[in-house]
Amino acid sequence: MSLLSVDFSILWPALVAGLLVSVSHVPLGQQVLARGIVFIDLAIAQVAGLGVIVASSFGLSIEGWGAQAAAGAAALTGALLLTWTERKRPEAQEALIGILFVLASTAQILVLANDPHGGENLKDLLAGQILWVSTEQLVRTGVLTAVFAAVWFRWREQIGRVGFYVLFALVVTASVQLVGVYLVFTTLIVPAVATYRHAANRQLVLGYAVAGASYFLGLAVSVVTDLPSSAVIVWVMAMLALLVHLARRAR
């Protein structure tokens, strides 16, 4: 289907979702890259998914707030665990994050193996798709992003390590459901890699520019080519990031 027949009102929620995710993920990603823990979002997302699956195996509702509470609680537990390991074994933090990812993923398989209502649908419960964003999700994420922005830009010095991990867990649990795990990883890491060699005071603005432009362009390309939007945005962001990264080296 061509550009002509696509109703533009299907694109704006996706664009808003992408921009909201960028607001929190670009600065978080720069921290994550500096700390050398780039796979933390994948681990947290798996832990959140595990929380939902465990809750449902105890017969709790997996729809609506039950799932959100389970996902949030699990993600927070994972975050606190990682805070603790960073203090105890800072030299192995990235490896421990990887191990947490594998453990959470395989624990899902083990729990589902004995869950009569398990199966593939449940596993994808927390995997969002950017084109299917609902208005209610946007409002929720908007509120969360506003809280994030307030905390991050005013009290970042005060929240410390625990605050960072807690904030990260909550933000990622929401964004994974909004745009899916590929876009979460990309929005965190790619702008950070694109900008880390630029002047420190310009990194955040450049990162926002890369992320915002990628969502805009990626959605447009996805409409013209009718390819799945998330994957297109990932590739557009990677290419823009390469340009921004090289632009620094040329000087």
């Binding site: 289907m1 061509s2 550009l3 002509l4 027949s5 696509v6 109703d7 009102s9 299907i10 694109l11 398989i109 589902l112 193996a113 009569p116 209502h117 398990g118 199966g119 593939e120 649908n121 596993k123 994808d124 798709q129 950017i130 084109l131 299917w132 964003v133 609902s134 996805s222 409409v223 009718d226 390819l227 799945p228 939007s229 998330s230 994957a231």
Partner: protein
């Protein structure tokens, strides 16, 4: 920038000014229901199919054209019985399209028209991964297709009253050809009765029922959950006593589990289309069953 905007505006205007297609816009979730809608609607309908035959219909990537079609569709032809539960309810809800909401004439579920098998009599926790509404893969019994086609013809006639006579005539013509085909297939399939087979999941249950195949075991009792070592060991030891004639694998299944078992129990793996488009021969609904039977019969002859 201004020129680009003007260009886009012009293109959009042209898009709207193009000869308004009077055809009924249909969104079908699977290749089979897309094929049936095309079969019954001919050139009076414009069918968009959400998933290809080799795609897992449980998971669907959101493409702009899919969302666009959901917003403009006059009729949604879905499988139902929770097959598309992972994405369709969200898509329908977020489409904001009042015509295809559940309960509206533009919301059609194929499985609502037929009797489902494997409906759990109660939620038996030991049964494993079961669909509470019954087995949703109804398209593999051609008698179901006939029933669903009848209901879909009436739905088309109701939604597009101006062409009602056309749909009814075309529907009757399809029913005649289809019942001839069923008779032909039934005669051809006689040697398959009672043949012991192993299946991947339970998604071939309707085919098995129709042909009278004897299902010895399923390789993956729970879709999405890898089988345990104990299950596989049990499978091999059980099957070495009563070997199957063949192991059935759907075109969209991962070939590894079936090949693994084939090495151990000395039975050939038969690849079945499962869906229109699953094999090059299964071009339409008639081809789906022709090819399925040819492939099954090739092994026992």
């Amino acid at each position: 920038m201004n020129r680009i905007l003007r260009l886009i505006a012009t293109l959009l205007f042209l898009g709207m000014a193009l000869p308004a297609h009077a055809a009924l816009r249909i969104l079908a979730t699977t290749a089979d229901w897309g094929a049936l809608a095309t079969e019954l609607g001919g050139d009076r309908v414009n069918v968009y199919t959400a998933t290809g035959a080799l795609q897992d219909v449980h998971r669907v990537d959101a493409k702009p054209s899919l969302v666009a079609r959901a917003r403009t569709a006059d009729l949604l032809v879905s499988n139902g019985a929770e097959l598309e539960i992972g994405w369709l309810p969200v898509l329908v809800r977020e489409s904001g399209n009042p015509r295809i909401q559940p309960g509206q004439p533009g919301f059609f579920e194929a499985t609502r028209q037929v009797r489902l098998i494997e409906v759990p009599s109660q939620l038996d926790r030991a049964m494993g991964d079961i669909h509470p509404l019954g087995n949703p893969h109804v398209q593999l019994d051609p008698r179901n297709i006939a029933t669903i086609a009848k209901a879909l013809t009436e739905r088309l006639a109701g939604l597009d009253a101006g062409n009602a006579a056309f749909y009814r005539e075309r529907g009757a013509e399809f029913q005649a050809r289809w019942s001839d085909a069923i008779a032909r297939w039934a005669a051809k399939a006689v040697p398959l009765k009672g043949i012991p087979v192993v299946v991947m999941h339970r998604d071939q249950a309707y085919l098995r029922n129709w042909l009278g195949l004897q299902e010895l075991a399923a390789i993956e009792p729970k879709p999405g959950v890898p089988p345990s070592a104990g299950h596989l060991a049990q499978l091999v030891s059980k099957l070495s006593g009563t070997p199957p004639r063949m192991i059935l694998r759907n075109a969209y299944n991962d070939p590894k589990p079936a090949n693994w078992l084939a090495e151990r129990v000395n039975a050939p793996v038969v690849l079945l289309p499962f869906s229109v488009g699953g094999t090059p021969e299964a071009k339409d609904l008639f081809g789906l069953f022709d090819d399925t039977l040819n492939r099954l019969l090739a092994v026992i002859q």
